[in-house]
Amino acid sequence: MTTPASKRTTLSRAYRDGLAEEMARDDRIVVMGTDLYERGGHWAQVTNLGPQFGRDRVRNAPISEAAMVAAGVGAAMNGLRPVVDLNFLDFAFGAMDEIVNQAAKVRYWWGRPVPLVVRGTTGFAGGGAQHNNPIESWFCHVPGLLMAYPSTPYDAKGLIKSAMRGEDPVIFAMHKMQTGARGEAGGPDDLVPFGQAAVRRPGRDVTVVTYGVMAPKSLAAAERLAADGIEAEVIDLRTLMPLDLDTVEESVRRTRTLVVAAEDYRHGGVGAEIAAAMQETLFRELDAPVLRIGAPFAPVPHSPVLLDALTPGADDVERLAREVVKTRQ
């Protein structure tokens, strides 16, 4: 799939390159947010796009999330393709009406496309509870929104490119701890479609479905499991809406077991929907209950020892994968 233009880069740089390529081919794309032009955003997600595209297209905004998103919605309804960059996805709390009651509903009422991207960095890291809220499941519960959560540079680039050519409002999440995640990125024509999960590693014994920062952690767990002869199939969802359950189902039909690995709170996360849907569809095929990995239910603490205790890791994936495999035997 990768063209000759592929090169090793980081997730945030790949996102930026994808956005830059799209901006170059489509001048309806504008980016707005605080501290984008000079600083390149708080996560180096638009480094140098300011000088490259000018102040009209890379707009520093006042701290006013509701205004940015509203402006994005209205502009998207009127021929532009705006990217509202919130820096932290948490700041969407200040624009929730604009996202849920405006962006998401316009097409349903009037058939008018709202090609708007709201990008935010998210996931557990330092910075305390207000800057680390896991809210991807919220957006997946709002009809009218799409939700991307790439875990590799290739997907970050390919998904932002698809988002910029699509017609729907997209929440675009990138994990803090993956800002510098390295890997190949695709070329100008390597789009990643929404709603198509990637099988990162084939395996016959247990399916692990995951996304975001838990994707590499799940792969690490799979390596350790392989050392003991347990072959885990690791599926990276890449987008949470649409949610590619067909790929998951196909895999579970073979492995007859499923572990869902998310960093989000275990209680009520996207993993709950996946588990609920798979036990419905594959009740007779499952050899063990669908198990879920997710964080304990608490605000995200500052102290690194507490943060570590909250954050799911490769160990957890390994442990639950062993548990389902054992249940089966």
């Binding site: 509203a70 919605v73 998207a76 009406d97 009651n101 097409r107 008018r112 649409p242």
Partner: protein, 346 residues
């Protein structure tokens, strides 16, 4: 904030027609009559249940919508609030498509999906009513952003009420428009009440316009029951906007003749107050009187305008009533542009 009550006795109710084209002025009167007729017809239909759900009538506020939209073309945009039939119709939406939407019919502007708070017609530049207080201004802000970005010489008007002037989003929108000098006309329809709350109970300060001026844009207060005055303020604002000079804030002092919603029976304002506004500051009666005084309208001419309004609304009701209902099987269609691959029909 000053209570929104009866102006000093003897305040002049005359409308200054200087510089106006009589044909245009008559057209405004016709539009106001259309709105009045629409609300007078739809209201009882909502009360009787023929129109499902309630509605917010704009009776009494016609001049604000007609005056502001009088300076806008179809490529200029308007977006409004929960009380928006007047803006929708003034901006050029066909009464048929509005009425059918109220009825929840497939031929409504949203195919019956929206209802009276979710009217829109992009072909005439009406970017939507809005059920969330203040949110319509945000849509207009975005339209103005697109227009400013393209430098296409168009502009956008966003409407909200006095109650909206207490929401944070309205001031974020105003701030962004001013900071970015967007071609936006910010229209606060101050009708004195938010549901049952008088403006003075909810806001301190001099006036909404005064509050707005602190955000760095010109802010004026106009008599919202005088369509010519609203037109002049809007014309200045549109000129500024089209010239790239940025947004303008217009606080239009107006009054709703009816309740907050159909069926309201609140005790929060006196019958005298309501009657005073109806008798002394009715935007239609005032404009009619001014045109008759200037010799630009006679009884027959008025009757013709009124009859046209009546006919169009009657036609709209017939259209709505005879239109098909949406197909229940389509309820979850068209939520997004790409399929969502969801499982479980139910």
């Amino acid at each position: 904030m000053r209570a929104h009550t009866i102006p000093a006795e003897g305040a002049d109710a005359g409308i200054d027609l200087t510089g106006l084209d009589p044909a245009q002025a008559r057209d405004w009167l016709g539009r106001m009559l259309l709105i009045r007729e629409f609300e007078s017809t739809a209201g009882p239909l909502a009360t009787s249940g023929a129109i499902p759900g309630g509605m917010h009538a704009a009776t009494g506020q016609e001049a604000v919508a007609v005056g502001v939209t009088s300076v806008l073309g179809p490529e200029d945009v308007a977006a409004a609030s929960h009380r928006s039939h007047h803006v929708a119709l003034a901006k050029g939406m066909p009464p048929r498509s509005v009425m059918a939407e109220l009825y929840g019919k497939a031929t409504g502007c949203a195919g019956g999906r929206g209802g009276h708070m979710h009217l829109a017609d992009f072909s005439v530049g009406f970017d939507g009513s809005n059920g969330i207080v203040g949110a319509g201004l945000g849509i207009a802000l975005g339209a103005a952003f697109a227009q400013g970005y393209r430098q296409d010489g168009h502009c956008a008007a966003g409407f909200f009420g006095d109650g909206g002037a207490n929401t944070g989003r309205v001031w974020e929108f105003v701030n962004l428009a001013a900071a970015w000098k967007l071609p936006l006309i910010v229209v606060c329809e101050n009708n004195g009440y938010a549901v049952e709350t008088p403006v003075g109970d909810a806001m301190a300060g001099e006036s909404v316009a005064d509050r707005a001026s602190g955000f760095g844009l010109p802010a004026v207060q106009v008599d919202g029951q005088d369509v010519a005055a609203v037109h002049r303020a809007a014309a200045q604002a549109a000129d500024r906007a089209r010239a790239g000079e940025g947004p303008t804030f217009i606080e239009a002092l107006t009054y709703r003749h009816l309740g907050h919603d159909i069926g309201e029976r609140g005790q929060y304002r006196t019958t005298e107050e309501v009657e005073w506004w109806q008798s002394n500051r009715d935007p239609i009666a005032r404009m009619r009187a001014a045109l008759e005084k200037s010799g630009d309208l006679d009884e027959a001419g008025f009757a013709e305008l009124a009859a046209a309004a009546t006919a169009r609304v009657k036609d709209a009701v017939e259209y709505a009533e005879s239109s098909p209902l949406p197909d229940p099987a389509t309820v979850a269609d068209g939520v997004t542009g790409i399929p969502l691959q969801l499982r479980g029909t139910q």
